[in-house]
Amino acid sequence: MATAGVGVLTTAMPFVRWGVDGSAARAVAAMPPKRGGTLRVALPLDVANFDPFYLVYDNFFMQRTLYDSLVQYDEHMHPVPQAAESWELAKDGRSIRIRLRKGLLFHSGRAMDASDVVFSIRYVQDKSHGSQFTDLFQLIESVETPDPSTVVLRFSRPYPAVFDALNLTFVLDKDAATDLKAKPAGSGPFKLEQWLPGNQIRFVRNTRYWDSPRPYLDAIVQRTIADPNSLAATLQSGDVTMIWGFPLSLYAPLQRDPRLKVAPGLIGTNYYDLALRVTRPPFDNKLFRQAINFAIDREQFVKTVLYGTVPATDLPFPPGSLAYFPDLDRRYTYDLDKARALVKQAGLNDTSFTAISSTQVIPDGAALLQIVQASLRQIGVTMTIQNVEAARWTQLDHAGNFQMLMHSFGRASYDPATLFGAAIMWRPTANATGYSSPEYTRLITDAASTIAPAQRRALYRKIDELMLEECWCIPVAADPTPFAMAKSVEGLSTDRSGVPVLKNVWLSS
């Protein structure tokens, strides 16, 4: 799982090991990590706020920098201790007992205890805080603290995917979390020194961090540079040593620069997809949806727009996932003859529809739609592309007010139950494509509550077959979300959301 999966053409990532916490630095290179230095990063977005439960791209470089979660994942998707030292999941999967690491200090100097974990869970459960993963915590019925170092969580049903929730349980300092949007309250490897909104933010090493000798860096300075060309120029001029969040159109020129190294983020955290509204023509016709799936030239998209950095796929999870099956991946290869035959069978020759995209939300999505449009024209189907503003796209997405929507989804690298539970195009109820079926609902619910991995895997296979048959949401390829940096930057890895783990980063010069 650490390497990027089947069929990746990338020009190698010898300096980076993905999806690994802690062991990334050890795995990287012969030389041991060096202490010191300031990492200068530029991103197109400023930090939105200091709420670690508010996971938007803006907060990616803040989340695991200022905060610790209870567990992390290794490259085999096994949970490893962070703020939690050990745990026991009950055999029936309905509760878990967690022991906290002793002597773990918040930035305020106070020692973490069980009451902070309770506070944090209550915080994310509170829907008014708008956390994107509050759903993972709604299953927690009660939280008990038999002693200051122990937390017992009880769930309303068996919860085998609970470690995803624990991976995203950032422990807040309950005494300092009075206004989490404006002021952080964490225990993470770095502390906030100064924030000039819209300009820059400066983090400094937490000298009392529990995971010694980490962090290696003295400080991280993050600047906001909205324009992508300026972002790349700032890296190339040497003013900063790392950038992220740039469009793929800059991948090749940055890669050609001999002073830089460029690599995709963890493959399989996010995917491009085409969402089809199944309650209105022409996508109320299953055969037509399948035809679209055969008419997508994924290889061309991956090669020309994504620079071969990721594999094409028709499944919404990466290899290594419980729900991934190699024989099901690429069932839909590019085949215009099959697409044409299906369109004819559906009785929808010469039909037309509108595809909505927003280049503000998914910059490279427009290119994918143009590739699909050209293919569909060859089989007599007309697709009109409509580009809308980000807020409008969000509105249409949420309301399911579209025929086809250029879309992307995250959570794909977590337990499949985490994806199917709340992702808007995959969840069994209130699905934005309008898709629902009793069989799908039953399979999703059963798979999320079943403990035995082999049984869960069999259920996910059935779900995959259903997805590939009904095609209400068509995955196309993983989204590489690449990093570009100076050659002196070592040890970079990300977590399962794609959030960089900066405590392992060090500068070789």
Binding site: A226, D239, A390, A391, T394, H398, I424
Partner: protein, 319 residues
């Protein structure tokens, strides 16, 4: 003169109230729900509703406006939906950067356009005139952001003379401040410099033919004295009008330049607030721009008094 100024100040107040209502209503007409934007499209309806209540968006529109206006009167413009920062603090932190950029661009524009325009006017129909007119025409046609990128490519990436982007506070490091300011200010000033050069040339050329200039020459006044006392002061009346209009345009144009050069000004703050439907920031920011425009207009009108004695005495300017 003072009665005139006071009358204008009263007008500013009325316009601000009307603008506040217009801004309040207009942004709510934009498609897109701030609670949905904040929580994200995957959020359940119950989450979105909880966030909406937290943002105070469930109350009737009139109530929302009155609460906001009441607080605004005492300097509280509300808080950002995203990070809870007081809007007034966000604006205070970002305004200096925009003002510095706009003022620097204006100063550069004047430093270049006045001498070049006067030169072209004095040497009309010469090679100098054609060069100045031609180059300024080209400068007007060139997209400003492209010009900015060319400057970055040349001075930052190739020559490493100046930083590609960013900002340094003048109080922290004056030389770094100037280094960061030079490229964005030059970029922002390009269209204004070119337009002003052509305008100065035209205004000056008209005055050169005036009777009072011929009379001054006949009286034996030296050329510099004629230039300053007669030609420049009269030309500046119309130039000041254009500068007043351009100053407003500079504030607006700063939005693009702030994006290209990562200049942390109010323009960029406002743009992001609009994308994110951060109502309080949009309202506060737009009102601030309205106030700025009105103050610039007021200053422009008052400055006529400096150049035109007829305004000071109380008669209307003619000709």
């Amino acid at each position: 003169m003072w009665r005139y100024v006071l009358g204008r100040v009263w007008q500013v107040g009325v316009v601000l109230v009307l603008a506040s209502v217009a801004v309040f209503l207009l942004i709510r007409l934009l498609p897109g729900d701030p609670a949905l934007v904040y929580a994200g499209p995957d959020a359940s309806n119950s989450v979105i509703q909880s966030v909406r209540v937290q943002m105070g968006l469930n109350a009737p529109l009139v109530t929302q406006y009155l609460i906001w206006a009441h607080h605004a009167l005492v300097g509280d413009l509300g808080r950002s939906f995203a990070n809870d920062y007081p809007v007034i603090q966000l604006l205070e932190e970002r305004l200096p950067a925009t003002m510095e950029l706009a003022v620097a661009a204006l100063v550069l524009a004047l430093l270049v356009s006045l001498p070049l325009g006067i030169l072209a006017a004095v040497k009309q129909a010469s090679l100098v005139d054609y060069l100045v007119t031609g180059v300024s025409g080209l400068g007007l046609a060139v997209p400003t952001f492209w010009f900015g990128f060319v400057l970055i490519l040349l001075f930052a990436i190739r020559l490493h003379w100046l930083p590609a982007s960013g900002y340094a506070a003048v109080t922290a490091d004056p030389s770094a401040f100037l280094g960061h300011l030079l490229l964005p200010a030059s970029t922002l000033s390009l269209p204004v410099t070119c337009a002003l050069t052509r305008f100065v040339k035209t205004a000056f050329a008209d005055i050169l033919d005036m009777d009072y200039v011929r009379t001054a020459r006949a009286k034996g006044l030296s050329s510099p004295a004629i230039l300053v006392r007669h030609e420049l002061r009269n030309a500046l009346i119309s130039v000041v009008t254009v500068v007043g209009l351009d100053a407003g345009r500079l504030l607006g144009g700063a939005v693009i330049i702030e994006s290209v050069f990562a200049w942390p000004g109010v323009g960029r703050l406002l743009l992001l607030a609009i994308l994110n439907r951060d109502y309080a920031v949009i309202q506060g920011g737009l009102l601030m721009f309205v106030t700025a425009f009105m103050l610039i207009n007021l200053l422009t009108d008052v400055s006529y008094g400096l150049f035109d004695p007829r305004v000071r005495i109380g008669g209307a300017p003619t000709g």
